[in-house]
Symmetry: C2
Subunit: 197 residues, 2 copies
DNA sequence: GTCTATACTTCGATAGAC
DNA sequence: GTCTATCGAAGTATAGAC
């Protein structure tokens, strides 16, 4: 994460303990927000001493970046495997509408507000993911006979992303008015596009 | 904020100093994220002693709730004044697409993740605001001749909200691919609807 | 209404023993 | 690789003088 060198020892990246710490940090982040991810609480949640966090990660930011990166890579991998087998607009919508990652995204968006290293990491991933989805969505829309002049794929992508994001955030707050209706609307639209292709 | 009573003194709600503290807290929240909103930093930013924060607010949560509530009321007031004079779909889109509140929303969405008092406050406001916008948007869509059976107003509302939200979050990260194109698309659509009505 | 003083907790991080 | 021990900084909150 950083190029400065210090005399401090650092644990191996493939360590089992290290993975456990990342698991604990991710769980804390999801359950209680990023402010709860402290070396003491991560250690405790993992059943280990907090100093081990500093043995495996130079700083807490390094730990956050690792939590993010691990999930991002996993997500990107899943997406690429789905696309490789050929995928419909409905598949793309379902992948996108997965609520599992919503809280995760909110926390990291907030974190990115004031932690430079994390913002950089998120931006890099967001662009990679964006490009991958755009390519798949463009192909799927073309197959469904949608004129890209009339509905640019990138617009459809942003609408799709925005919809699932806003429903996820509101869902967490307990506000769900119109969600069922909107989901039904999108699924109907997507099904009709599927019939065409 | 709370019904427990303690012996501690509390400053007047209409105090000038209190307003300055809320200003400072809001600025810190926007600039550096909610984790930066501590009694020490708020006091320092306001040029006052941190203990004054505790004189005006029983807990830091009370301060957060006040920051949120003040802005929410102001926002709702502005919206209602706009609607009172009659408003078009374009007006609604512009109001919604105001990026100024994006960071604010992200921070509070993250805060709501783990602070019950704040979540309750946000949910209450979100529902009020949602109802107000829905009413205005429903009327504007009807005036533009949009069939509510074909495009339910609540769906249009969620699309609108989602779009501006996702563009705001990405914009903060420095990811802006497709944003200009999407904004142009929406503005064109909205203008065409305006011509009809 | 604002201050000093202070209690107590938790934080990130490091050094060095085993 | 994991532990004990420890530092200094920062956090929330309260009591009481002025």
């Amino acid at each position: 994460m950083t190029t400065e060198h210090s005399t401090r020892r650092l644990g191996a990246p493939d360590s089992r303990t290290r993975a456990i710490l990342v698991d604990a940090a991710e769980q804390l982040l999801l359950d209680e927000g990023y402010a709860a991810v402290t070396s003491r609480r991560v250690g405790s949640a993992a059943g280990l001493k907090p100093q081990l966090v500093h043995y495996y990660f130079r700083t807490m930011d390094d730990l956050f970046v690792e939590v993010f990166r691990r999930r991002a890579e996993e997500n990107l991998g899943r997406f690429e495997r789905m696309v490789a087998g050929g995928c419909s607009i409905a598949d793309l919508w379902r992948f996108n509408a997965d609520l599992r990652g919503a809280r995760f995204n909110i926390e990291f968006a907030a974190l990115a507000n004031h932690r430079k290293a994390i913002r950089t990491e998120i931006a890099r991933y967001a662009e990679r993911f964006r490009a991958a989805v755009l390519e798949a969505l463009g192909a799927a829309l073309a197959a469904a006979g949608v004129d890209p002049e009339r509905v640019p794929p990138v617009v459809a992508l942003l609408v799709m992303t925005g919809l699932s994001q806003v429903m996820a955030i509101e869902g967490e707050l307990g506000v769900s008015a119109g969600h069922a209706e909107t989901t039904a609307f999108v699924e109907d639209l997507v099904a009709r596009l599927g019939d065409h292709g």
